[in-house]
């Protein structure tokens, strides 16, 4: 998929160090948010005795939260925090697009890949900000769910969970693979994030009696219907689940399990999963029969809504889910860059919550109106009234510790989302990509070596003649098949990034291949790289002796290699100021040449030139 990833090594030390540094800095800020909120809250309560009385008057005893909702809120809160911690893995910043998103989308239809590619490209352009955003958004949602037990803030937490879950489901999980072949509940269908979404919606529902009554009636049957559908899919002929092996190759399920067994994980777990894979390969029909039976039976029982039958079915399905989680899904988060514990834990939480909803008696408290938020001012007050300093102080003083923690959690989410949103405002990739390929620019201050050559139109050009303009100087082989075309693109993009400044800049390349030194080759290269319309582009050449003299002066290598290889040469760029002084040297290896790295290099080059232009 074009643009999906930066092509860098996920463990690239420069990016990993930057990612860790960003997480540490943002972590300190997150702690400060909570500390400041606590301090402000305690201070307001201490300083405003009258407000305290007011707060006491406003506060009403909280209604008990239904057990099913409590389970979902706390369960998925913990899961989100766990997912946030997984997102903080050092290789995640670079690795998520190439190691997680791209493989997940590979078997999906083209339109899904196209959609996912957009997200992968966005991530790959700003890996540090995107990686950190995922960490803090998920940790923030998790904390928010855990601390906000009741009221609008709690429902908002559910909504945030559903919203982010939807984003992860679409872009991170390629719709949970529902449009790809081989879909099976045993391996995670319809996607763990879809279950986070469902749980979030359930938490976000208004806590009114009629809603609770409907949930009691439909939650578990809906799960039952889903399970029956999955059972039919599992039993569908021709999908390979009934065969342990086929023509010497593992069947669909055995293949899935065996692929998990070989991923990196503790050896005991690997051995366990591997043994189960062998079992599935040997007794594929029986294993599938058990799976189909459990799913179908549980589904049918859930549809009956008879607690006497449902209870053992819930226990059995939960046990089955846990077994599947270990033996088939391999706990979900091992084997590289796991982002969540896959679908079985969320499924078990939803099933148990459905059972609790079914078996809970209608609470008398639910017959009353939804409780007022502890943060709220008197209901009659409009929003203008609520924003007045006095009202705010009263509101803060009257808020519970949970409410303040919720506000802190929202702050954590914003802490992650804001830098990513800011990064998105720039179409250029982060310069960290280019720095990871070639390091930072080396500052210099010495007269640049003179040269006098001809350009692509056979007109004489010299460094002295370019005086008054900053020069971005590179060395390019016109018949190069790899690096030089990429570098030319980066220089062209850098020129475009400079905008109005570009008229004070000459983009100069010197022909690095004396064997192909006619202006015709430079023109062909310019056409190939769409440089013919760049007014400040000068591609210079000369006789082999003239060119070699310039190479020597600039310390640039140009070496003939045998057997059909292109010329071996340096990848280097120089920035020369308006007075002809060398100001920076950049190792200009373009790296993997993806859209992200090209864009990053362009930003680095433009930044280096812009810096020189600003120097007195």
């Amino acid at each position: 998929m074009p643009g999906m990833n930066s092509g860098l090594n996920p463990n690239d030390p420069t990016v990993v160090a930057a990612f860790k540094s960003a997480l540490i800095h943002q972590g300190i800020i997150a702690l400060l948010i909570f500390a400041l909120l606590s301090l402000a809250w305690v201070s307001v309560r201490e300083w405003s005795a009258a407000t305290g009385a007011e707060a006491g008057r406003l506060a009403r005893p909280a209604e008990p939260e239904p057990r099913w909702r409590q389970l979902l809120r706390i369960g998925f809160g913990i899961l989100w925090i766990f997912d946030g911690v997984l997102q903080a893995q050092p290789a995640m910043a670079v690795g998520l697009p190439s190691q997680v998103i791209e493989p997940t989308a590979a078997s999906s239809p083209a339109w899904v890949q196209h959609l996912v590619n957009w997200a992968g490209t966005t991530w790959s352009y700003h890996p540090i900000q995107a990686g950190a955003a995922a960490v803090w958004i998920q940790a923030g949602i998790g904390i928010w769910l855990l601390v906000a037990a009741r009221g609008p803030l709690s429902r908002l937490a559910g909504l945030a969970s559903a919203g982010w879950g939807l984003i992860v489901w679409v872009f991170g999980e390629s719709f949970g693979g529902i449009f790809a072949p081989g879909l099976t509940w045993l391996f995670g269908a319809p996607g763990a994030a879809a279950l986070y979404c469902v749980a979030g919606i359930l938490v976000a529902l208004p806590q009114r009696p009629e809603v609770s009554a409907r949930l009691r009636r439909w939650m578990l049957p809906a799960i039952g219907l889903f399970l029956i559908g999955m059972a039919v899919l599992q039993a569908w002929p021709g999908r390979g689940f009934w065969q342990g092996s086929f023509r010497g190759q593992p069947g669909t399920l055995a293949g899935m399990v065996q692929s998990m067994a070989v991923t990196s994980q503790p050896s005991a777990l690997s051995a366990l999963v591997s043994s189960f894979g062998s079992l599935v390969r040997a007794y594929g029909f029986a294993v599938n029969l058990v799976a189909v039976t459990v799913m179908a039976l549980a589904g049918v029982i859930f549809l009956t809504r008879r607690p006497r039958l449902v209870r053992p079915a819930v226990i059995a399905l939960t046990a089955f889910s846990l077994a599947d989680w270990v033996l088939v899904e391999d706990l979900g988060f091992f084997g590289g860059l796991g982002t969540d514990p896959n679908s079985m834990i969320p499924t078990a939480l939803l099933v148990i919550a459905g059972y609790l909803a079914l078996t809970s008696a209608p609470a008398a408290a639910e017959a009353t109106a939804e409780p007022a938020t502890p943060m709220a001012s008197p209901p009659s007050a409009g929003w203008r009234e609520r924003l007045k300093p006095t009202a705010l102080r009263q509101s803060a003083a009257g808020s519970s510790a949970r409410t303040m923690a919720s506000v802190g959690a929202i702050g954590v989410i914003i802490l992650g989302a804001a830098p990513m949103a800011a990064a998105q405002a720039s179409p250029q990739a982060s310069t960290i990509l280019a720095q990871s390929i070639a390091g930072s620019a080396a500052p210099l201050d010495a007269p640049a070596a003179p040269f006098s050559l001809i350009d692509q139109h056979a007109k004489p050009v010299s460094l002295a003649g370019l005086s008054g303009r900053a020069v971005l100087l590179t060395f390019l082989d016109p018949v190069c098949v790899t690096d030089c075309p990429l570098e030319a693109q980066e220089v062209r993009q850098a020129g475009a990034l400079l905008g109005a400044q570009a008229r004070h800049v000459a983009l100069v390349a010197i022909n690095l291949n004396p064997a192909y030194n006619s202006p015709g080759y430079l023109q062909a290269f310019d056409r190939q790289e769409r440089l013919t319309q760049v007014p400040n582009w000068h591609y210079l050449t000369g006789s082999p002796d003239q060119l070699r003299q310039v190479y020597r002066r600039y310390g640039v290598a140009s070496q003939t290699l045998p057997a059909g290889s292109m010329l071996g040469h340096s990848d280097v760029a120089f920035v020369i100021d308006r007075d002809g002084r060398m100001r920076a040297e950049l190792d200009f290896d373009p790296g993997p040449g993806t859209a992200a790295t090209k864009s990053s290099w362009a930003a680095v080059l433009a930044g280096a030139v812009s810096k020189v232009l600003k120097q007195p």
Binding site: I178, P181, G182, L183, L225, I228, G229, M230, A231, V232, L233, W236, G238, R239, G299, L303, V479, C480, V481, T482, C484, P485, L486, N513, P514, A515, Y516, N517, S518, P519, G520, Y521, A524, R527, Q528, T560, L561, P562, A563, G564, S565, M566, L567, G568
Partner: protein, 383 residues
Amino acid sequence: MRTVRKAALVVLLAVLAAGCGSRVATRTQLPAAPHPALSLSTALATSAAAWATIPMGAPAGANLFWELFRMPAGGTRWALATPPDVATNGALVLTTRGGQTLVAGVRPSLHLIFSPVTGTSDGGKTWTSSPPQAGLANSPDALAVGPAGQLLALGSNGQADVNRPGSSGWARLTSARALAASTAGRACRLMALSAASYTPAGDPLLGGRCARPGVAGIFAYRGGSWQAAGPVLPGALAGQAHQVLRLTTAGGGNLALLQVGREAGGSLVAAWTVNSGKRWMLSPPLALNGAHPVSTAFSHNGAVAVTLSGGHAETITGATAQWQVLPALPAGRALTLAFPPGGGLDALAAAGSELTVWRLGSRPDAWVKAQAMKVPIQYGSSS
């Protein structure tokens, strides 16, 4: 009863939902297998040297390099002569005008979309670049050099361009579309161009594929217009479609290799010009029997060698001779036949960095290993 109906509805919905998500096996029609293009592995010869080009290194991608080998007159060993300072991942297209002169065009590959052109007149010791061509066609005869050093190139865009000595660029000579619209082109219903050459007098020659049976698509540019210049095929061959596979110079004239008829039941015919290009002489047809030609080689005096799919090879020395079956070809991932200047026939077999030369000399019924060479391929240099 109501519960039963509801349950049935639920099951029906579940089945439908599952059916929507499942993959249904469908019977799709496979497209017909495309006719394999003639390989650019080829060899040509002058009285002073033989040249052969063959792919080496990796089977495909950035580590596949086309290498050029040369054997001088009087020599018995091949030596690496690949032109320097240009990546040959896209293949070499060779042409010669006799003596030590060879011109090589490099087909586009990776990020390079035009064709560098370079030549040597001292047997590969030094190379001098010619102006770059817009992108040579995937044909062993996409480049031709005339008696005065002028170049004729067939581009992958269907255009034929010329470069005159001393000129800094290429000029449009014609295009497949324009030639098809000419009187000669209409007469054969020209479909595509596939080869370029020069007559001994220096007139540009183009070969192609005609839709009209019985007409060989060879055209000469004389007196400012294109004229049919191909041979007239006799008897049963006249009723079949023709395609020019090769068109080159050899033995003081032109040499063409034609494929006649459909691939499976088709045949190959070699044709040589005589009497200063005024007349063509044809070889007997070589029945392909379902095989297809893979690579070709020519000697300086007009002998032809063809390798066919299935490991077969045939050779013919001239119009009055018969096709001779060669012994089963030696193993090798890529293979080309070549006529050494001293006579006989070599098979150059490549596998990775190893080149093995097999010779058909003293024993005409078996290939004898004559040389082995490790080529210093720089893996990763184009990555």
